[in-house]
Amino acid sequence: MIRVELAKQLTRPRTYLTFLALTAFALALTVALSATGPGRVERVGDIPLLLVPRTSMFTLPLVALSSTMKFFLPLAVSVFAGEALAGEAAWGSLRYALARGASRSRFLGSKAAVAALFSIAAVVLVPVTAAAAGLVAYGWHPLPVADGSASTPLRLALVTFDQGQALGRLGLATAYVAAGMSSIFAFALFLSAVSSRPLVAVAGGVGLTILSRVLNVDYLPGVAVLNGYMPNNDVDLWQHLFQQPVQSAGMLHFLVLQAVYSAAFLALAWWWFLRKDVLE
């Protein structure tokens, strides 16, 4: 059943367009950085990490991940999860899909599995494309990273990671970002079960990231209590993997938080879908 669903989703232009857009973004980033001065220092994230793009191919995946994790990746994930059920409902094919002799739980399970597979593929695609473009543009060199928070005008806190180390940390970072998308995925899937309009589910998934960003103490005083419990705030903590020593405090907390949010929304989606009157 998963295979049928996979084959169905793979033939849809929407899937290709989403992947194509993410690939194009990573490539455009490489071109833009090369055109505007690859020798210039780029600041990445809130720490900030200071990178010079030209020094190594590994700079590009870092830049690409940090510039897509707040909007473009959540959007892609919401598209895959939001379309899962609402897409069928919008086409009016949901009740025929359910007329097959498979339980609703199993149907939901295979829909969710395929959407999750595509979402993970989307997250992995960005750094992989960027790394490939970086390999062509800047070559297989060790990655020097300066820690902007620990540096003073007199002393630059510079760390150089050799290729294997950089690759390993990049893999960890990608896995962390992928895990960080799971709450958005689960929420969009829940909305997809509730609504019969894919756009509502997609907008809701993206809306969750906005809510998480707006209820941030930088903009709204008095919400500091909520800060550690927002679904998407701490998705940028992977950048600490590139500091020396690694400051991984908070990362585990965020992963547990993601698991809790995902479990809650997935359970809600399942509960709702089992009881839903399918009219379309």
């Binding site: 980033l29 505007t36 780029e42 830049v63 909007f71 960003r213 930088d218 903009y219 709204l220 005083p221």
Partner: protein
Amino acid sequence: MISVELLKQISRRSVWATLAVMALVPALLTAVIGITRPALAERVGNWGSVVTDSSGFTMPLIALNAMLLFLLPLAVAIFAAQAVADEAAWGSLRYLLIRPISRSRLLAVKAAVAAALSVGAVATASLSALAAGLLAFGWRPLTVLDLRHTTAFHLAVVTFPPGAAAGRLGLALVYVMALVASTFAFALLLSTLTARPFSAVAGAMGLGLVSRALDNVPGLHALGPWLPVTDAGTALWTSAFFQPVDLSGLPHAALLQALYTAVFLCAAWLRFARMDVLD
């Protein structure tokens, strides 16, 4: 005709709900800050900082800073998106067009009323913040710390007497209204393209999101000054509260917003004048 449209919109519950939220959020914010941390400095924009309980005039600044990221654009997008798409959703658009008036005039009236409501939303939010702030912290001079020019040896502080603070606030509101103009026009364009108000609102918020996301991509710094919604642009209004007043960013921002607004409005007009109205 404007009065008919205005009456219709004003009698709608969604308009009241939106304006009520605009009024409630600053009041709630004042209550939260007043209870939890009235004596702490709050960051406003990229460079400003105010101590909340030093004056009632700090609240409009804090509220604008918090709401300009999401809530004010949302209110503006709702008003503009409803203009045409709501009639289409109700199925009343074609009956509306049967009246012997040109489509251009209808669109202009709809746009004018939506614009008036948008201005009303911005005004409601800031007046509510001002009223709550004055009630909580009093009619006192406003002191703003300019972090850009503050060094360890020099504290760049400006104090405005209450009258001047009110004047500066008015100036800041003009900035803020200009900054949401492109969002308004884009929502109006989407409103003529779809028969679903929700899609138009989501699309208009999407413009801001995409624009902000592109603004934050390293390597695309050159694009920054030409995007409709950016972090730097959003904080521009705070320069009204620095001394000397730094108006250097204003002409560029106003021109850019005017350009985007004109393009989106023209597209909306072209589309609406030619569209097949089926609902």
